[in-house]
Symmetry: C2
Subunit: 338 residues, 2 copies
C-alpha cells in the first residue's frame, strides 16, 4: 500500500507537470502527486506497507492491493489460485509490519461470461488463504468488469511498541532476508519457457505465495528489527525504497544471497532472478548489530530461515559486491504478465 | 458491502448450477454462492452495509465499494467529482450503521493516457470528501487499467450497544427515510435528456452524494432505530432486502414519500424516480412505534428531515398504497451508466 499519511515536504510533487500523462510521469511521480495533495499531519507509517491508525496502545494496519488478470496472474489461472493470491498479497503487507490480521474484504470485478464454478473456486481460494493465517474474508462487493480485477483490503493490528516500520534502519545494522530468493522468477520461467521447464515450487511461490504472518509476529516480538518490508517488489527496488526513506545506503554481498535451488535448476540468470525480478513474498529487514543470531534462532521456530545478505551504510549508495568487484544495484522491478 | 459473515443455511447456494455463467445466475445468486463458501460462525452484521469485527465494547466496521467509469459515473466526469464519489459511497455504508469513520483507503486503477492533472483532481476530491466527514484517506494503491476503476475501503467504529443493523425490524415499527427521494434520478435525467434539462442539485446528489455520517450517529444514539440501511439501491430493492432479512413486510404510502421538487420540475415520472431509480444516499430505517417524533426532533439538529413513509407488517408483502389502491413493489434497481 502507498501510505498517504506523509509529511515530508521534500517528497512533494513540486516538479510534476500536471499536463503530463500518467504514462509520462510513471507510478513514482503519480504517488508523489497523490501524497502531496493528501498530505496530513502524521508521519507514522511513512511509506510503509500499510497505512496506520492509532487505537489506544495499538496501531490498526490498513492495506489494499489489487490484482488484475493478465498483469499479476496469467489468463486462464484457476479460480482457487486467484482467490488465494488476492488474500495473500494483502496479508503480506500486514506480515511485513508484524501485524496480526483481523479480517479481509475483497471487491471482485468479473466478466459476465465467467462461470459460477469459477466464482466458487475464487471464494474457496480466498477462504483457504485467510483460514491458513487465522483470519477470515468478512465481506466484499461484486461488480461486473471486462477484465477480472480483484481488490483486496486487509485490516490488522500491532502493538505500538512492536510494530515494524520501513523507517528505522541505521548505519551499521545488518541486512537480512527470510527464506530464499528467486523462487517466483523460477515459477514465472516455468510458465513462459518453451519447451516448458517446470518448477512446481516456483509456480506456487509466484501464484500462491505464503504471507509470512507468523514470521512477522516473531520478528516484531524480538524488538531487534529496525526496519522491515515485504519483497513483493524486487530486492533491488526494495533497497532503493529503504535507502531513500532512511537516508542510508546498503552493501549487499552477492555470494551471501540465499538464491533458490530452483533458479539454478531451471537455467535462468541467478542475478536477475534474485535481485530484479520481484514476486517473492519474503521479508527484507534490518537488524541491530550483534542481534542477528538471537533473531535467527527465534525465527527458526516458524521453520523459516534468516540470512544476512549485507549491511546498512552511511553513504546512500546501493551497491552489490560480487567477487570483490563493486556493482551498483539498479532500481528496477517487473510487472510480470504484461 | 456484502457481508460474508453469514450463517443462515437457508440462504445457501444449494440451487446454483456451477456450470452457469455469472450472466445467467446474476448478482444475487453470485453473492449466495460466495456466502455459501465463506460461511462463518458469526451472524452479527448479517447482510449489512459493512462487515463487522468485534473489538472490546465496539464493532469495527469494514466496507468496500467499487466505482467504474461508464457504469457508476459518466465518461468525462471531472476527477474531483470521481474522487469525492469513491470516498462518499464507502462512507455512506459506515453512516448506515451509525459508525464513526476511522479512515479510508483507495485503490485506483487508471488508464495511462489520463493526465497528472486528472489524478491530482481525483486526490483532491477524495481529500475534500474525507475531510468533510472528519476522516482521512490514509493510504492506497495505484495500478494501470484500461477503464478508470476506483475501489474504496472504509473503516469505522460503533459501540456494540448503538450500532444499527439491517436486521431488527419488527411488525408494527414505523418505516422512515431521511431527506428526499429522487434527486439522483433528476440528476441522471439532466445528463441524459436532450435537450438538456438541468438539475444542478440532482447532479450533485448523483455524483457528489453526501454520506449521512452525522445523521447516522444521531439516529444510532437515540436507541429507537430497529434497522437501517442506505438507499444506494432503489427504495423498492432496499425494502425487498429488509423484508427477506427480517421476515417481515412493508406497507408504503405513496403520498407520504418525500419526493424531491427537482423530480417534478424536470418532468420525469415521480414514481419511477422515487421507488426504482436508486442512487440517493439517504437512510432507510425502521423505528419503534411511538418513538418517531423524538427521533425526528433529534435528527433536526443535523438539518436533515425525517419522514414516515409507511410501516412494517407481519405478512412478508411489499406493497405500495396509492390513492387507496394496492400495488406490489417490484424488486428492481438500475445501474445507471451502463
Amino acid at each position: 500500500v502507498i501510505n498517504y499519511k506523509y509529511s515530508n515536504t521534500l517528497e512533494k510533487a513540486r516538479g510534476v507537470c500536471v499536463k503530463s500523462t500518467l504514462r509520462e510521469i510513471g507510478e513514482r511521480d503519480s504517488v508523489k502527486l497523490i501524497r502531496a495533495v493528501l498530505d496530513s499531519a502524521s508521519d507514522i507509517g511513512e511509506g510503509d506497507d500499510c497505512a496506520v491508525l492509532e487505537l489506544g496502545d495499538n496501531y490498526l494496519l490498513l492495506t489494499t492491493d489489487v490484482i488484475v488478470e493478465g498483469r499479476h496472474f496469467p489468463r486462464g489461472t484457476d479460480g482457487r489460485t486467484v482467490g488465494w493470491l488476492v488474500v495473500a498479497v494483502n496479508l503480506s503487507d500486514i506480515a511485513a509490519m508484524g501485524g496480526k490480521p483481523l479480517g479481509v474484504v475483497v471487491a471482485a470485478a468479473l466478466p459476465k461470461h465467467k462461470s459460477a464454478a469459477y466464482l466458487k473456486a475464487v471464494s474457496r481460494g480466498m477462504k483457504a488463504c485467510a483460514a491458513s493465517f487465522d483470519t477470515e474474508v468478512v465481506g466484499g462487493d461484486t461488480k461486473e468488469s471486462r477484465i477480472t480485477t480483484l481488490a483486496g483490503f486487509a485490516l490488522g493490528i500491532a502493538p505500538k511498541d512492536k510494530v515494524m516500520l520501513r523507517k528505522g534502519a541505521k548505519p551499521g545494522d545488518m541486512l537480512a532476508v527470510t527464506g530464499t530468493l528467486g523462487l517466483a522468477a523460477a515459477g514465472y520461467h516455468s510458465i513462459k519457457s518453451k519447451p516448458k521447464k517446470g518448477s512446481k515450487k516456483g509456480l506456487e511461490a509466484l501464484l500462491k505465495p505464503r504471507p509470512l504472518i507468523g514470521e512477522g509476529l516473531i520478528l516484531s516480538g524480538t524488538g531487534k528489527v529496525t526496519s522491515c518490508m515485504d519483497l513483493s517488489d524486487s530486492l533491488a527496488s526494495s533497497l532503493h525504497q529503504l535507502s531513500e526513506l532512511n537516508n542510508v545506503g546498503f552493501e549487499v554481498e552477492y555470494e551471501k544471497l540465499p538464491i533458490s535451488k530452483e533458479v539454478h535448476s531451471c537455467g535462468i540468470e541467478p542475478k536477475r532472478a534474485a535481485l530484479y525480478f520481484g514476486g517473492d513474498y519474503q521479508l527484507l529487514l534490518t537488524i541491530k548489530k550483534n542481534a542477528f543470531s538471537g533473531v535467527k534462532k527465534s525465527l527458526k521456530k516458524s521453520g523459516t530461515n534468516l540470512t544476512i545478505i549485507g549491511r546498512v551504510t552511511k553513504k546512500a549508495d546501493k551497491i552489490l559486491i560480487v567477487d570483490d568487484k563493486i556493482e551498483r544495484l539498479e532500481n528496477k522491478s517487473y510487472e510480470h504478465f504484461k
